[in-house]
Every structure is written in C-alpha cells, then in structure tokens.
C-alpha cells in the first residue's frame, strides 16, 4: 500500500478526534485565539451587510483571522476532495441504507448525497426546505446559542464552561428530534 492509498482511506475516529482537539491548543498558542467557527458568519455579516444593526457594528477586521481559518477549511476540502478522496462508497450502517431507500437515497458514493443536495433540487419543496431552510436554522441557531459544535462542544467543554454543556445537550436534542421525527416527513415530500 502506498502512502497515498493509506491516506485515501477514511480516517478512524481515534486519529481524527484527537487531531481536531489539538486545534484548541494550537490556536491558543499560535495567536491567543479561541477555537470557534460560527463567529465567521457574523463577521461576514458585519463586513458585507451591517445595515446599521448594532450587533454588526464592531471592528470585524480585528477578527479577520477567523475568516482566514474558514477559508482554509474550504481549501482543505478542495485538497482532500481532489487528492485524498476515498474511491469507495461511504461505509454506513446497513440499517441506514434500509432507512433511506424508501426516500430514493441509494447512492453513498459522495459524502454529501447528490440525490438530495443538487442545483435542480433547489426548485423542489424538499430541496428548498433542506438547503435553504436547513442553512437558515444553522446560522440563526448557532448565533442565538453563541456558538456551534466547535465553540461550545469542543472549546467550551475543554474549558469546563457549563453553559456550553447546556448548549451541546440542546444541539443533540434538536438533532435527535429532527433526524427521527421530522426529517422522515421532509424526505418523503
């Protein structure tokens, strides 16, 4: 097996998780920055459409590192997608394959299911709800909660902040409710 073939396999959780956790001390020690991603969406608002809203009146340029960081994530996605992509389908639990089949989701070759997320689907009720509606909830909810999985679940819990534990538990409750109770209805549209 070549090194490239080795890297192309999906990485197990016990490799990826600790590497993601290391982002916390790396950002702290490199520039005294607290790990967090959803703030970047606020900075984009402050930079592009502040519209006299007090919440967006601050010097976003001081927080520009965050925008470089998410720009890097985009770039990392391009590199990993172009050079390190796993040629095999995503190996999911057979139960999930059975669960998704009735909704016409049968192709597991890409990380983002093309049968759900594609440009023409934006014209369907299902696609509109999932892409535009889902995105809106992500942006609105993370800012309302004051952080996302990185800022609350990883950075917040790493620094033993109990409000972050509350937020993380609520993320999970919302996710369980959606995936098990509401999403089956949306997928059947």
């Amino acid at each position: 097996m070549t090194i490239l073939e080795f890297l192309q396999q999906p990485w197990p959780w016990y490799i990826a998780g600790p590497l993601i956790g290391l982002t916390v001390p790396v950002l702290l020690l490199v520039g005294n920055k607290s790990f967090g991603i959803s703030s970047s969406l606020r900075h984009i608002c402050a930079a592009c459409v502040p519209a006299k809203v007090p919440f967006f009146q601050y010097d976003w340029k001081k927080e520009a590192w965050n925008l470089f960081f998410v720009g890097g994530i985009l770039l990392g996605g391009i590199i990993a997608g172009a050079m390190l992509a796993n040629p095999a389908p995503v190996a999911v639990n057979p139960q999930l394959v059975t669960d998704l089949a009735p909704y016409g989701i049968t192709d597991f070759h890409s990380l983002v299911p093309g049968q759900l997320f594609n440009w023409p689907a934006l014209l369907s009720v299902r696609g509109l709800l999932m892409m535009v509606g889902g995105g809106f909830l992500v942006g609105f909810g993370t800012r309302y909660a004051g952080g996302c999985t990185s800022g609350h679940a990883i950075m917040g819990l790493s620094t033993l902040q109990w409000p972050s534990l509350v937020a993380t538990i609520c993320f999970m409750i919302g996710g369980f409710v959606m995936a098990n109770l509401i999403l089956p209805f949306i997928l059947s549209l």
Binding site: P10, W11, W13, A16, G17, G21, V24, L27, L28, G31, N32, L41, R42, I44, C45, K61, A64, W65, F69, G71, G72, I73, L74, L75, G76, I78, I79, A80, A85, V92, N93, F108, V112, F117, M131, G135, F136, L137, V138, G139, F140, G141, R143, Y144, G146, S150, L157, S158, L160, P163, S164, A167, C170, F171, I173, G174, G175, M178, N180, I182
Partner: protein, 140 residues
C-alpha cells in the same frame, strides 16, 4: 500583527483542519444521520476524543502557565449562561440534522465539490443576520 501575511498561518491551520474534516467523514450527511439515529459510534468517538484532548491541553496550559508564541499569557473567555443557549441550541440542532453540517463542515462540503452547499452557507449567513437584526426582541 494584523497584516495579511501574519494571517496566513490561520489559513494553513484551517487547511489542515479541513482535510481532517473530510478524511474523518464528519462532513458527511450520512455520518450525521447515523449519529442522530444511534447507528454508529464514529461521531461520538470523534467529538468525545476531541474534547478529551482539548481539555487535557487547556489543563496543561493553565497548570504550567504556557505562553503563546509571542510570549503572551493565554486568555480564556468565560461564557455566560443565557436562555439563548437553550433556544438557539435546539434550533441549531434541528438544522444540523437536516443539512448534515455545522458551520465548519459547510465550507468543507463546498470544497469537496458539493457546490450547491454555497446556497446553504448563504442561507446560514442570512440566518445569522436575521438573528442580529431581531436580537432585542428574542428571549435571552
């Protein structure tokens, strides 16, 4: 220190982070569905071990008063509780299970070629803007 050049290190850290995101498949809608249907340990393992490593690192930094590369004392920002963490947390959770992505993975999903996710990202930015606009009227 706020020159464009000094920001490049964050671009590099973000790039490595994005590659890990893709290779661990945490940006996959399928993995998120498995997590919320209790069909796989993978995501719990990723988040759990990330928190463990983060906690240990923060503890070491505090214990040995490790300084930043510029010699500054590391500062932490305590989070104050407000009801937004409950309401907003629930709302974000709903969105997470639909899109299969938190804000970070949205960027990586676009990177791996799911260009339509740019629409999801724009909608997330719009959601953030609407929150900012109506912040005063929302319970906190």
């Amino acid at each position: 220190m706020n020159t464009w050049f000094s920001q490049l290190k964050y671009l590099l850290i973000g790039t490595l982070f994005g590659i890990i995101f893709v290779k661990a498949e945490v940006i996959s809608w399928f993995r998120i569905q498995e997590m919320f249907r209790l069909q796989s340990f993978h995501m719990y393992g990723v988040i759990g071990s990330a928190v463990m490593v983060g906690m240990l690192s923060v503890w070491l930094i505090k214990k040995f008063n490790v300084k930043t590369l510029d010699g500054e004392t590391v500062t932490f920002h305590p989070k104050k509780f407000n009801k937004g963490q409950i309401y907003g947390g629930l709302i974000f959770g709903l969105g997470w299970a639909i899109t299969g992505a938190c804000p970070g993975p949205l960027f990586a999903q676009i990177g791996v070629g799911a260009t339509v996710v740019a629409v999801t990202l724009l909608s997330a930015i719009a959601g953030t803007w609407v929150y900012g606009r109506f912040r005063d009227q929302l319970p906190h």
